[in-house]
């Protein structure tokens, strides 16, 4: 037996609280981030991802004490993203206790930040988050600013470029699927995962446990990320792992 496929609960944090939206809008409160992190750790989460979706930059510092609190009692990898504008932001998040930092909009505006951060802190801690949306050409376009701005970039080409600049992992979200509970965008996930040699985390659209298994088996994802099915108590992480195991997927139990 070898490497397990990872299940990663995602905590969207807005001004210090965990929230969940549908198609990037309509936020609903889901609780205290430290308490939720603790519960996911107990249930066997393989990693935790925090996305800081706070709009104003001064309030965004509220994520730092949360990460510090989680890191002092939860000993699994923690990824933090949202609002990373410069290499110094990466450093601040790592110093607060993050193990990986996810970069999205800034990577599009200034791809060099990915190379700079990877060379300074190591590729293992640089995740590039890609929000992708289907276009008329039957391909997928990269969006930024939480899904508001089209960039004209092709998601597959962009993933390859980010890998070549030093990203250690890709967090791939389908904007068409996010919040819909209709399953991952399998063609997108598979196309990106097959195009790069670094791990790809599938995100956006999970509504059932079978969706998680499909992301790995059909989408070739190395890890699957979900939020609302875990936050609101529909399923535990452990149930998700058992379901993946029943589908022949190697998991950590």
């Amino acid at each position: 037996m070898g490497l397990a496929k990872r299940i990663i609960p995602c905590l969207d944090v807005n001004a210090g609280r965990v929230v969940k939206g549908v198609n990037f809008v309509g936020l609903r409160d889901a609780g205290d981030p430290v308490e939720i992190a603790r519960r996911y750790d107990r249930e066997g989460a393989d990693e935790l991802t925090f996305l800081d979706i706070t709009a104003s930059s001064d309030q965004r510092d509220l994520i730092l004490p949360i990460i510090e609190a989680v890191a002092s009692e939860v000993f699994i990898p923690l990824t933090v993203g949202g609002g990373v504008r410069e290499v110094n932001d990466v450093r601040r998040l790592l110093n607060a206790g993050a193990d990986k930092v996810s970069i999205n909009t800034t990577a599009v505006n200034n791809p060099q930040i990915v190379a700079d951060a990877a060379s300074r802190f190591g590729s293992q801690c640089i995740v590039v988050a890609i929000d992708a949306k289907a276009n008329e050409a039957g391909r997928w376009e990269v969006y930024t600013h939480g899904g508001r701005n089209a960039t004209g970039l092709d998601a597959i080409e962009w993933a390859i470029k980010m890998q070549n600049l030093g990203a250690g992992e890709i967090l791939l979200t389908s904007m068409d699927k996010d919040g819909t509970k209709s399953g991952f965008n399998i063609p997108l996930t598979r196309a990106v995962s097959d195009a790069v040699s670094i791990p790809v985390i599938a995100s956006g659209g999970v509504g059932t446990l079978q969706h998680l298994a499909d992301g790995v088996i059909e989408g070739h994802a190395d890890a699957v990320l979900a939020a609302s099915i875990f936050h609101f108590g529909e399923y535990t992480i452990h149930e998700a792992k058992l379901h993946m195991l029943q589908n022949g997927i190697e998991v950590r139990l």
């Binding site: 037996m1 070898g2 490497l3 397990a4 496929k5 990872r6 750790d41 393989d46 890191a71 002092s72 009692e73 000993f75 699994i76 990898p77 790592l94 110093n95 206790g97 193990d99 802190f121 190591g122 590729s123 293992q124 801690c125 250690g168 992992e169 097959d194 790069v196 040699s197 670094i198 791990p199 790809v200 070739h220 190395d222 890890a223 950590r252």
Partner: protein, 231 residues
């Protein structure tokens, strides 16, 4: 004894050592844990942790610039010493990563996972870095494996692995897809490719074993040939 620290985590400016020190504080709340580049603090510490991320050539350059090469060698020769990730790889002679020399404390070399071998039994491509939770198969008993199930999963993130020059020092291996050495033991040195500080219960158990380890390789009050041994 008073002023000496119990556990020194060697800081040579590569990456974030907070996770390592937090986990050590968690398993040894009464111990003094310092993250330091001070040669004297390291040499006076009761035990030493040598972590590391990034490229081996960069790490060696940082160690050299801080005057820590001989300090690491002395610590590795004299007290309970735990290498983690790149801190394991650097103990060896050479790395393919940038054709860099290591510290040469242990015989062996560091190789990249070869592209042509990275397929699973269903012919799916295996990603590099090897990132996530893999099973750690214990090759021989060691005090640091105490209380850890053989085959327990630990968290890995690396693209290079150690090929030990002496098979007797291999303490554990993992499969990706071929068996590679993920832990070595040599006298007072124990070194792991995975991250115990990020490996939840199993990792904390290993760190807890390290902070009480006397630096002897045989399990306490027990030797590996004694079948009555209950450890």
């Amino acid at each position: 004894m008073a002023a000496n620290v119990d556990i020194a985590v060697i800081d040579y400016g590569m990456g974030n050592l907070r996770s390592v020190s937090k986990a050590l504080e968690h398993v040894a709340p009464a111990a003094s844990v310092v993250v330091t580049a001070d040669p004297q603090v390291i040499l006076d510490a009761g035990r030493v942790v040598f972590p590391g991320v990034g490229a081996m050539g960069d790490c060696m350059a940082e160690l050299k610039q801080r005057g820590l090469i001989d300090v690491v060698k002395q610590a590795a020769a004299s007290k309970p010493f735990l290498g983690i990730c790149l801190g394991m790889q650097m103990l060896f002679e050479h790395s393919e990563e940038g054709d860099a020399a290591g510290l040469g404390i242990l015989p062996g070399r560091v190789l990249r996972f070869p592209d042509e071998a990275m397929y699973d039994n269903r012919h799916n491509r295996l990603k590099v870095p090897h990132m996530g939770w893999n099973e750690v198969h214990q090759a021989v008993p060691h005090p640091l494996w105490s209380g850890i199930t053989d085959g327990a999963r630990f968290y890995f993130v690396h693209s290079y692995y150690v090929e030990a020059g002496n098979p007797d020092m291999v303490s554990a291996f993992s499969l990706y897809p071929f068996p590679f050495t993920c832990a070595v033991a040599a006298n007072n040195i124990f070194a792991v490719q995975f991250h115990p500080e990020k490996s939840q219960a199993a990792g904390l158990t290993l760190l807890g074993n390290f902070v009480t380890w006397d630096g002897n390789i045989a399990p306490n009050q027990c030797d590996t040939f004694n079948t009555e041994c209950s450890l």
